[in-house]
Symmetry: C2
Subunit: 216 residues, 2 copies
């Protein structure tokens, strides 16, 4: 099996390579709040174990095996988040750090039974898809509300930022998963987005708009 540190690196590389192709040393360092030199060390070790493709100065990508493992960690993370919200009644902004620890519990049988116990959920509390036990994951075609044309309507289906303050703000504004919103206007001056929801209008900043993902 892989160490806790290795698992965290694989998950970070997976997350970063969803956005772009090859992942840079500095990106990984930022994501894991560590130093570039530490990343170089670890990436070499992962390359020795054939979990990533790596050549000096070229960045890194997951091998097939590495991606399988990463998807498994993501599966565990999201299933535990679902458990914490649905069974233990935590709020969606409270569960990330706990799941960050729980995702490293190694038993596959445990996670499969947890999955069954909860009725095979397909999305975590933040709208992210949960990979099945074979590592299959639905790529969701979501768009930030900042990236759609005026008068486009859609359902909030995900968030681009999982931080507690951001999620609490959304909660407070009732901008939660499943809500239907209409983008009324995007102000040219500072990219403020005017949303309509429940027949009320709501102004949100560019940063917030970038991190609310809707299915159209």
């Amino acid at each position: 099996m892989n160490t806790l540190a290795e698992e965290n690196y694989l998950k970070a590389i997976y997350k970063l390579s969803c956005a772009e192709g090859n992942v840079s040393t500095n990106q990984i360092a930022t994501e894991l709040a560590t130093k570039a030199s530490s990343v170089t060390d670890m990436v070499r070790k992962l390359a020795d174990k054939a979990l990533v493709n790596y050549a000096r100065y070229q960045g890194v990508s997951l091998t097939h095996t590495g991606e399988k493992i990463a998807l498994n960690i993501v599966r565990r993370h999201r299933l535990w988040e679902y458990f914490l919200v649905e069974k233990l009644h935590f709020k969606w902004d409270e569960v990330h750090d706990m799941a960050e620890e729980m995702e490293h519990i190694s038993s596959t049988e445990l996670i499969n039974r947890l999955d069954a116990f909860m009725g095979y959920p397909t999305r975590d509390p933040h709208g992210d898809p949960i990979p099945d036990c074979d590592g299959n994951i639905k790529a969701s075609a979501l768009k930030p509300v900042s990236a759609v044309k005026a008068n486009t309507s859609g359902v909030i289906s995900g968030v681009g930022d999982h931080s507690t303050p951001f999620l609490q703000y959304l909660e407070q504004q009732k901008l939660t998963i499943g809500k239907r919103v209409m983008v009324k206007e995007i102000i040219g001056y500072d990219n403020t987005v005017i949303l309509e929801m429940d027949n009320k209008q709501l102004h949100i900043s560019r940063d917030v708009a970038n991190n609310i993902l809707i299915a159209i």
Copy 2:
């Protein structure tokens, strides 16, 4: 907070000091399947943190703080075992290793909600008492069936060995928690114990008898 290794040492010391007072270096080494020299190192560190009382060659005991922490780890271990058996339908011989990992999940709020979710169980699947959130634990006055007089009747309420083979053997013989048994006779020759259960007689070895605990 304490590291995973520190937590495992504290739990081991707690377990050993329930049987006797001061715990020896070698006892800890055996319990944790490590070497005496490693134990000396760690015990020093725990003494520096004021979690154990230690003087060279004198063995070790938990301080009040150390015992509180140990009880908390025991609480987490037993609550997760209960969860695995009652909610995920694992068998009592399958859960120990998983709980060994899960007991290190640090959130107190999580464990308290888990406790509530399961209805505040008082005993784990092996009959061991679960400390409450303040660290109070019921000392159970159980006796091995090897230590009672002939014609004593009692209810199986705990086990002295948590290993998979032993628990599977008990399961197979239907010698499970809650069953009422009567000690009919202890054979002098090899301490075989003759039990009566459900109006049937059953011979068990000295080793097995030492590890079946009954409430009289």
